[in-house]
Amino acid sequence: MIEARALTKDYGEKRAVDGLEFTVKPGIVTGFLGPNGSGKSTTMRLILGLDRPTAGDVTVNGKHYADHPAPLHEVGALLEARSVHTGRSAYNHLRALAQTHGIPRARVDELVDFVGLHDVARKRAGSFSLGMGQRLGLATALLGDPATVILDEPVNGLDPEGIHWIRTLLKRLAAEGRTVFVSSHLMSEMALTADHLIVIGRGKLIADTSVEDFVNSASRKIVRVRSPQVLLLAEALAGPEVTVTPIEAGVLEVEGIDAAAIGDLALQKHIAIHELTPVQASLEEAFMELTQEDVEYRAA
């Protein structure tokens, strides 16, 4: 369980996180979604006590992160930025962190095998590829068998097999009753793993909803109509709620009225219809639409 209340963080003049209010519940995978630079990583750093909030408050499993006597047993975290000494082997990295909590060596061995780093565990972490680094980060996060897992862009740099492995792992962790909080800037990725979504843009909360509701609420209902008499049809459809956009010769995109109503109207006015297709906005489009005013860096 993660609870953020009016969570705010300024870096100098810039407000990175702006009054966030949300609760991340156990037992499901909660996706944390937002464009690059929207404040996801900052929010996670605030949750984990690495940065101090300017205002507001955030707790994990009922306490501030730093107030847990054995934090690695409460929360396991994978940060986006690399957090490993490049000169130390993966095995020694895990062992040193395990020692702070008196976690036995056997648990380190177990995790090295689990994340598939057995063959390279004695090599310097600096020689690891991005994907191997992510696996080491995951092993670090799971070291204390934590009740809450916080992962910042965990699929970065992973190959398709690794991505599939992470998705399965996240679902399994949630099914075991843990709180799973995963950030991504890719809606499509979240659609496959998450049950619930917290969407932010420019540090502000945009949506806190189930994946299904998010898609429904964000997607525009558009109908593509092909007709030899588009001018007549456009005239017939015209209304305060309806927008009609010509796409190409003989094709319109109509928003604000559903396919059945368009068909009925056309029949009434004796206009021939050659195609009538409801177009569902994709998740990616839904996400872009919701966040488009909040994108920090946009291609010119």
């Binding site: 006597p69 934090p71 047993h73 040193a96 008196g102």
Partner: protein
Amino acid sequence: MSSVAVTQPRVIRSEWTKFITVRSTLWSLGVGILLTLLFPILFAAVTSSHWGTMSPREQADRHPMDIALAGVNVAQLAIAVLGVLVITAEYSTGMIRSTLLAVPKRLPVLWAKLGVFAVVSFALTLPAVIVSFYTSQAILDRHHILQTSISSPGVLRVIVGSALYVMGVGVLALALGAIIRNTAGGISAFVGLFFVIPPLMNVLPLSWNNAISKWLPSEAGRQLFALQRDHTRFAQWPSGALFLGYCILAVAIAAVLLRRRDA
């Protein structure tokens, strides 16, 4: 629930593991010990072979403990660089985030790093200096010059004092690294404080030089292993206390900043 809590001894164990599992540790300590051992041998040999050609005044200026401790001046640099690295390498690699996630109270990490590093610097420097004393004496003995014994007045104090000095240098460097959080910056700060500012004082009028120099951490620390009282400096105990004071001040600043700053 103490069995599943972060405790200071556990953090010390963790910091010990971290310390001995990176190559820079072995390199710096190896070089430091090697220099501590080699310089006295070199200086003893050179002094012996040139003894006959030295003027009586020059001969009177030589002191066996200067030769025995010749390596300490160089070894301190190796220890200082390692002291800075112990903490700044965590910042440059991002390891500090993993460290602070495991120990979010933060201060136990600083205490553990300081403890491990101070004990290691002292425990390595002391035997190295003792060995240096005997090897340099053995070389000088063959030419029957500059003989002294470990039981001579002040000799043991100077030997232990030099190891304490190197330990203090390590603590100070680690604290500087924790304050500056950048390897180049931390090493520069140390070099500036210990190797650049002291000789610059010679440019000042002598009365100024004498009034200021005795307050410098390097000069205060140096009195810990000076055999003769230098009257332009504070006496041994006040100097030692001043040096300790600088160490405590640097550590206190490092501790406050570590608690306060975003990691």
